[in-house]
Amino acid sequence: MKRGKTRSEERDTGFLWMVNRNMDQGSTNPELRITNYGLQIRQSTINIETIVKIITYMVGTLGFMSVFRHIDVPFDIAFLSLFCLSLYFEFSKKFYIPRWALNSISLLVIFFSFYRFKLGDLVTQIIEALLILLAIKFLEEKKFRDYMQIYTIVLFLLAGLGLLSLDITFIVYLLVLVFLLATSIVLLTYYSQDPNSVFTKDIVLKIVLKSMYIPLAAIPAAVLMFMILPRTQYPLFHFLNRADKAKTGFTDSVRLGVVSNIQEDSSAILRVSMEKIEDNALYWRGVVLDYFDGVSWRSSSKDTASMTFPAVSKGKSVRQVIYLEPYENRYLFALDKPAYIFYRGVRKYDDFTFASTGYIEKRIRYEAVSLITDTIIEDEVDESKYLRIPEHLSPEIAKLVKQIAIHKDDAGNIQSVYAFLNDGTYKYSLKNLPITKNPLEDFLFLAKFGNCEYFASAYAIMLRLAGIPSRVVGGYRGGYYNDVGGYYLVPQKNAHVWVEAYIRQKGWVRMDPTPATLDNFASLMKGDIFFRMSVLLDTINYYWYATVINYNFEKQLSIFYSLKSGIKKPGFKLSFNRAEIVKYLIIILALAGIVFVMCAAVRHDTSKEKKLLSSFQKAMGKHGYKKSKSQGLEEFLLNIKQDKIREPAHRFVTEFEKIYFKDKEFTSIDLVELKKIIRQITRF
């Protein structure tokens, strides 16, 4: 074969392909002519490039949306104005700024970002520069390569977002981007094969929908890749990971009389995966404060303790997997009283607190084992440390204690002081707290209301005045159990302090002098549907952190090992609970039922007349009359030799055609009538 040209015709696919290159193929051309066959088809068509452009602008918007909160406002504004300008040029003016001019501006942007280079905030600076380069790229006249460059920049922006924030929104952006990119690149491939390609809407829709299979199939592949990609325990550029900003709520010192109103922060600090336990045992121990200077509590020097099993051997042991949000300290929280915490470089102190080596700058995961008990058995304590009274403490308080602590034994005095603070005189409040230099005195004698810090401080100091060693413990109280995820969500606002009093020969006993503590932290919110919803929604967050963010080398190894052992033991049994199996079976059956009903409904909807016709043909087939595909209904009737059958068949066809060829709807009465005739035919 030597020379030649191609031409095409329209066939059952409804496909149209432009061959005549001289024709005007602007996106506005609603009519398409195939000259070779004199075929004129009026069908609205779409230019592939227009769709690619629209998707590309969507990709650009997505890239911007993902990072705009993390960069300086001037950059946001610069991007948005350039982006709007390019939109205006692209779609209404069809004007593009020459490449050389844009390239020079891009170079300037790069030089500028080198000029402001600071190692501390490297990622943000790169993102800012990339965003401006992206906006510049949009101003260009775009070829295949340029579109690909835009997509690359957006992917880098998303990677930057991953370094800046570990939020779950990342996965939403990534998923949307993956779908947009798949569609766009497939269409771009079409575009690269023939820049003038024009398709009917149907075909474009089919191409777009069918190309969605690619990202859909890529998702499981990506999940697998995510699990098996090589990881290291010692990343080199760890500094690039910027920590989530620390939140307020918990501090390692308690300061009184400084803040008048406390803002409640309902963001999560802890997610603790564990079994559900009684609400009154929900004390999350963080830090122990022993030194009071009259205004604030702090922690004096303390000794580290060995990790061996502690003296608190009584009580139920509870294993927890804890996800701790970043905050400005290094204490690791766990259910009171924590025996072990498994975390790299964790330090255990003799007051049953644990701390990491550095500040918790990113979300961490650790495991802990706690014993649920009120008492820490300790034979001997440094009494001078735990009985220390601030020098300028008001003597009024000492007088008060003398009146209350009248019992001879410590246990009795502990109870009487507790009863004094809890007799209803003192109220719990987060508002209008006294701002004063003598907070305890004002709390006890004037204001008579305060938050847990006032109650705990007053109680601890009063105990010390009564000769009972005491300390203040800071942590969290309560939490909301998420039944779906099987974990406790502890918000920042649940930050709490309580007191530990030392009873000689017994040990440290937990006392919580704040009135109706639990109500303050848990039951207040129980009826709130929005809060419940947000707790439920938090399940997604929890799984996101638990499975994606905290996936690491160790987990990778453990998956490999469990797979390996699973393969080695061919007879291993999966333990399933019968009730569970039944539950899942019911769910599966219900889903299958829904799908079946939907399919049936769709089928029913589309082919009323087809169904009728096929049952007619079936009935006729029983008498040996088969209608061939090319035969018309009336033609078919001519073949019928038996009058008995011809008569009803004729009646059916006339009635059917009366409705069908007049484009009328088959009413239920019609259907009944026609079916009656069919039954008549069958009966003969």
């Binding site: 491939t189 299979y213 905290n550 996936y551």
Partner: protein
């Protein structure tokens, strides 16, 4: 880019970077699968018109069958010899037809093999190729070249005059008389027989035939063989256009004169394959 992101993922230990890299790698793997699948379960049928003459454009019908159930065929290019046709989209379980105009330069049997399909789908990064085992053959008739041979035979025909055939027609002698059938032209009614029998009778005439011509291949004196074949082919076509019976003696074989289409094809085929 994937490698770059991969390196940064490993070195930052950031799982979100890992997610991007995993998505890109997943994409690559899947795109490979889709690209491969795109070329599978496809059959191509090439159909030629019945009469192809050398050095004359003719359309080739190419039918692409997509036998897949789930995925359409995207952007498939079919390569035949040095030409290619693009099938941008072929729906599932459907046939798409395209025409390609082409021409052969030489007469004789042509076998078209080395047909292969290619596609850049899905991402225009690689082009995948796949050869098809099909082969299609066609016989290309000799090029038609105008020549004077035909006038020679015309002369001979005129000398001999026309002859009556045994088929019914309207030009020659009476063959029989039959019953009048409604619609017979009035001028064919045999009034004599009608009068005799009292019922309308119609004359049946035989048709006139041209004197048959037989071209004897060896007796045609044209030195160049190709020229000779072209000339004879041209004459056959021209004579048949006038509905004159023509025969051909070639390779010690005689094609009895005739006017049918099949007869024409047979003779042209013989000429096409002469000494090939």
């Amino acid at each position: 880019m994937t490698i770059l992101l991969g390196v940064s993922a490993v070195n930052t230990g950031n799982n979100l970077m890992y997610l991007i890299v995993a998505a890109l790698l997943g994409f690559m793997g899947i795109s490979g699968f889709f690209g491969k699948n795109n070329l599978q379960k496809i059959s191509v049928v090439i159909e030629f018109p019945q009469e192809i003459f050398a050095n004359k454009d003719f359309p080739v019908k190419i039918t692409l069958k997509n036998k897949k159930r789930l995925l359409p065929v995207f952007l498939l290019r079919l390569h035949v010899a040095e030409q290619s046709v693009l099938f941008p989209f072929a729906d599932v379980k459907s046939e798409t037809v395209k025409y390609m105009e082409t021409a052969f330069s030489k007469r004789g049997q042509h076998i078209i093999k080395d047909i292969y399909i290619s596609s850049v789908f899905p991402f225009n990064f690689f082009t995948r190729f796949k050869g098809l085992d099909n082969a299609f053959d066609c016989v290309v008739f000799p090029e038609l070249k105008k020549c004077d041979l035909i006038t020679l035979y015309e002369k001979g025909r005129r000398l001999k005059g026309e002859k009556a055939s045994d088929k019914t027609g309207f030009e020659s002698d009476i063959v029989s008389i039959r019953e009048y059938v409604y619609g017979d032209p009035l001028k064919y009614i045999n009034w004599k027989a009608t009068a005799k029998t009292g019922a309308l009778k119609t004359k049946e005439l035989s048709s006139l035939l041209h004197q048959p011509i037989t071209i004897d291949f060896d007796k045609v004196i044209i030195k160049d063989l190709e020229e000779k074949i072209s000339c004879i082919s041209y004459s056959i076509i021209q004579i048949l256009k006038k509905n004159m019976p023509i025969g051909l003696r070639i390779n010690d074989r005689l094609y009895e004169p005739g006017t049918s289409h099949g007869h024409k094809i047979n003779m042209l085929k013989e000429l096409a394959l002469y000494q090939r």
